[in-house]
């Protein structure tokens, strides 16, 4: 008896065909030939657009690609959609309210565990007191928001039905928080999600501020979840890291300033479902240098007119109902065949011929991206641009790049000068081919115009003044804080899977109650991440950022599929992991690092200012949900467990 990957019965002949297709596909991937044009050239595609029967390229739908809205490039076969019909949404900026306007009781330093008679539950889901007031931060914070997690009907494509997604305040991505250093924020986060989930999602949530230097009780630890009918007051101090540390004498280090953060659900065992369903958004931090005003400070393009966050995502939709589908029992990784930017499939953005700051974020669930700017009238011409940040951190200075590689949760702010493209139509194109949840170099980089077009950018806006600094003049941003000095503890972490399919770190499984190691506050730690055979993992550490001292990955690609002459980009091109010290965009602080199969990455960091529990985990959210995560605690005394 033979079955396809969906468990449907097929004939032996069809199964052999499926296996042949699988093998063919692997070979083609190795050769970097997976585009329709290449297939046609190789005679694998008939003039009618059908795959040659005996060597189909997909085990069940004939190998579509997603460039034009076709389907089947992922692990699903969504309905065909017409690209470039909806504008790219820009999430609304969240507005502050007076503390007296909050729904429910006034905020308290200790969790409000009084029973709400309306629900029979404690008012608040928090379990630990706020740490910030004891360190001199105002309570309640000077800036107060209230956000409600709720279901809403969202249009992701005119060719699909409205989707019942889970949102913050009715939009996905949710509203963008615009925060400032020195202005602490309190967010009353209300869970009003329904128990009727449409097939996936759990209406019990924990919202993580990703990259935030956040006290443990407000961080969104996976087991700090709260139920529908409860709220959770999250306190974000927006203080420079190091303000309470012993290794620097200042009140926090300006060079630790953050810019692009995001928030997303982190509910233990259900993160992938809840984020897939829409629970994510941006949190931007500004200060006296990164001001959001292009006439002051670093003079980066002004927010919000020319500074635009973009959340990339890939999703599957049911071919019969057109409803977003989640592959619940796939514990390897889910690849969608529909590419969304800010919640819409293949949208359009109109821009003026001037410089823009785009804040790119890969929200997953599992796919690795390598994003290019493509002009389809000349697809093989490189369209370089400037990368100004890595994850939430501005680089020491802008770096010109041909593309940006992003594992799940990685971010990059880029500055693109559209004055050179006036009147043109461009695309953001993911050229990294990936065929299963394994990710990374098992995929290949396809040539320009042959990848997945995610966003159409039309440069037809009016000519407007541009007071932003030209990144080609290499303005200096922040210097890199030193991570030299004697390392107090070296720890090593292996990310792998058991033969029976369980994800592990150092051969152990996650559980919220097990503290795998204790970090002594303020001491310098060096961690080595080791990748198992065959799989790539984006590794994320909460609370603090690290600097990669060895093994940072660069752009994907290889000399054999080098369509853009990567050699001119020097150390940017280092796909298999640079063995030496970091350079280029990797000379930065980060909170996620892509770990390639059998790769070794060394990072250094200090854990400062806040105490308590935090996780470290793979940010392929499918792996994260299934135990590729650990809990560590920051404490006044630590341990020296080198293999925790």
């Amino acid at each position: 008896m033979y079955f396809n990957s969906r468990g449907e019965k097929v004939s032996r002949a069809r199964w052999k065909e499926m296996y042949n297709a699988f093998q063919n596909r692997q070979e083609l991937i190795k050769a970097g030939l997976t585009s329709r044009r290449d297939l046609f050239r190789m005679g694998l595609l008939t003039s009618a657009g059908m795959l040659v029967a005996k060597s189909g390229l997909s085990s069940w739908n004939g190998g579509g690609d997603c460039r034009y809205g076709n389907s089947g490039c992922g692990t699903c076969a969504s309905p065909v959609t017409t690209p470039w019909t909806l504008p790219m949404p820009i999430p609304p900026v969240k507005q502050a309210i007076p503390v007296s306007s909050l729904t429910g009781p006034a905020p308290t330093v200790n969790p409000n565990t009084a029973i709400n008679p309306a629900t029979g539950l404690a008012y608040e889901g928090r379990t630990r007191a706020n740490q910030a007031p004891a360190l001199g931060f105002p309570f309640p914070a000077g800036v107060v928001y209230q956000v409600t997690q709720q279901q809403a009907q969202i249009n992701v494509s005119n060719d699909l039905p409205l989707q019942n997604l889970w949102t913050f305040d009715g939009s996905s991505p949710g509203p963008t928080y615009v925060a400032h250093y020195g202005a602490p924020v309190l967010i009353r986060n209300i869970n009003n999600l329904p128990s009727n989930n449409g097939g996936f999602g759990l209406n019990s949530v924990s919202t993580h501020l990703h990259n935030g230097h956040t006290p443990s009780e407000s961080d969104g630890f996976p087991c700090d979840f709260f139920a529908a009918g409860q709220y959770y007051d999250q306190y974000y101090p927006n203080a420079l890291a190091g303000f309470n540390s012993t290794h620097i004498a200042t009140n926090g280090d300006i060079n630790e300033s953050l810019s692009t953060l995001w928030y997303h659900d982190h509910r233990e065992n259900f993160t992938s479902q809840n984020v897939y369903k829409g629970l994510l958004g941006f949190y931007l931090l500004f200060n006296q240098y990164d001001t959001g005003d292009e006439t002051t400070g670093f003079r980066l393009p002004s927010f919000p007119a020319y500074d635009i966050p973009m959340a990339f995502a890939d999703r599957c939709f049911d071919p019969t109902t057109g409803i977003m589908a989640f592959d619940t029992f796939n514990t390897d990784g889910i690849l969608g065949d529909k590419f969304m930017v800010n919640g819409v499939i293949q949208p359009v953005l109109h821009v003026s011929p001037r410089r823009y700051r785009f804040r790119w974020l890969n929200t997953g669930p599992s796919r690795f991206l390598q994003v290019y700017v493509t002009d389809l009238t000349s697809p093989s011409t490189p369209q370089p641009f400037y990368q100004v940040s890595n994850d939430g951190n501005l680089l020491p200075h802008p770096v010109q790049v041909p593309a940006v590689a992003l594992g799940v949760a990685e971010r990059a702010d880029v500055v693109i000068d559209f004055s050179q493209y006036a009147g043109k139509t461009l695309y953001l194109e993911n050229r990294l081919n990936q065929t299963n949840g394994q990710g990374g170099p098992s995929g290949s980089v396809v040539s320009g115009g042959q990848g997945f077009l995610m966003l159409r950018i039309v440069v037809d806006g009016p000519a407007v003044a541009d007071n932003s600094v030209n990144p080609a003049t290499l303005p200096a941003y922040y210097a890199l804080p030193s991570v030299s000095g004697s390392v107090a503890v070296s720890r090593s972490f292996n990310f792998d899977q058991t033969r029976d399919g369980q994800w592990q770190i150092n051969g152990k499984l996650f559980d919220c109650n097990t503290v795998r190691f204790k970090v002594k506050q303020n001491s310098l730690e060096e961690w080595t991440f080791n990748g198992g055979f065959g799989w790539s993992h984006p590794i994320h550490v909460h609370l603090e950022e690290f600097q990669i001292t060895q093994g940072a990955p660069g752009l994907y690609g290889s000399s054999s599929d080098d369509h853009n002459d990567y050699s001119r980009w020097g150390s940017q091109y280092c796909w298999s992991g640079c063995s030496g010290s970091s350079s280029g965009v990797n000379l930065s602080r980060k909170d996620v690092v892509r770990l390639i199969p059998s790769g070794n990455v060394k990072v250094r960091m200090r854990f400062r200012d806040w105490l308590g529990r935090y996780p470290m985990h793979c940010h392929n959210v499918i792996h994260e949900d299934h135990a590729m995560m650990l809990r560590f605690d920051v404490a006044t005394t630590g341990d020296t467990n080198s293999n925790p």
Partner: protein, 222 residues
């Protein structure tokens, strides 16, 4: 339904040969689909993952997978075979311990089902022996049946490797994972079978409504 799929197929075929000109020129005509009305969450899950195949319990009773085992229940599922000497006995022992802990924490029934991946050799009698050997009692069934039905369940429940050849060589590549869920609420996820039994019990409570819990969910003390 058939008409619609055919129309969709024709639409996509019509788009393929002109794909490049679509890009170069103005927008293509929108493919207009007529979709079936959305399913309820439990229907989404049932149609995709839970075929109603006939099975035989270790007690020799004939049952249907969806109607008799899943419908209206909170369940935990795993794969095993009786002669397995490594992982299966360990997971069985883990589940036994987890079930004891769970009884302290929930007021509702949680049903455990172990599906054999070797249905030809694992007769109901053999599974009965396995259950007795491990002192399994109560709401826990070991299930066998026609090989094609067990194979369909294995694949639908995601216990397959994406490489078909690797998968055929070793059907246990993903068998370390338990599936668990609340069928009427369509809340489902997976747990690692090798996890600490206390943690397995804890995760199972995620899909038990508050009214069914004896104590509030544990939010990691300390």
């Amino acid at each position: 339904m058939i008409d619609r799929s055919r129309r969709q197929l024709l639409t996509s075929l019509a788009l393929l040969p002109v794909a490049r000109s679509v890009l170069a020129g103005p927008d293509a005509a929108a493919p207009r689909h007529t979709f079936a009305p959305p399913d309820s969450g439990r229907e989404v899950m049932r149609k995709r993952f839970f075929p109603n195949v006939p099975l035989v319990t270790h007690e020799g009773k004939h049952v249907r997978f969806y109607d008799d085992l899943l419908k209206d229940k909170i369940v935990v599922l795993n794969l095993m075979y009786a002669d397995c000497t490594t992982l299966c006995p360990m997971i069985t022992a883990n589940l036994l311990a987890a079930r004891k802990i769970l009884e302290q924490r929930v007021k509702v029934d949680v049903f455990f089902y172990s599906l054999t991946i070797k249905p030809v050799q694992d007769t109901p009698e053999k599974l009965r022996e396995y259950a007795a050997m491990h002192h399994v009692r109560g709401k826990w069934l070991f299930l066998t049946g026609k090989p094609e039905n067990l194979e369909e369940l294995r694949l639908r429940l995601g216990y397959a490797d994406s490489n078909p050849l690797k998968d055929r060589k070793d059907k246990a590549l993903h068998s370390g994972m338990l599936r668990y869920g609340n069928e009427p609420l369509s809340q489902w996820s997976s747990i690692q079978g090798s996890a600490n039994p206390d943690w397995i019990a804890e995760e199972i409570t995620y899909v038990v409504p508050a009214a069914g819990l004896k104590t509030a969910p544990n939010q990691a003390p300390g």
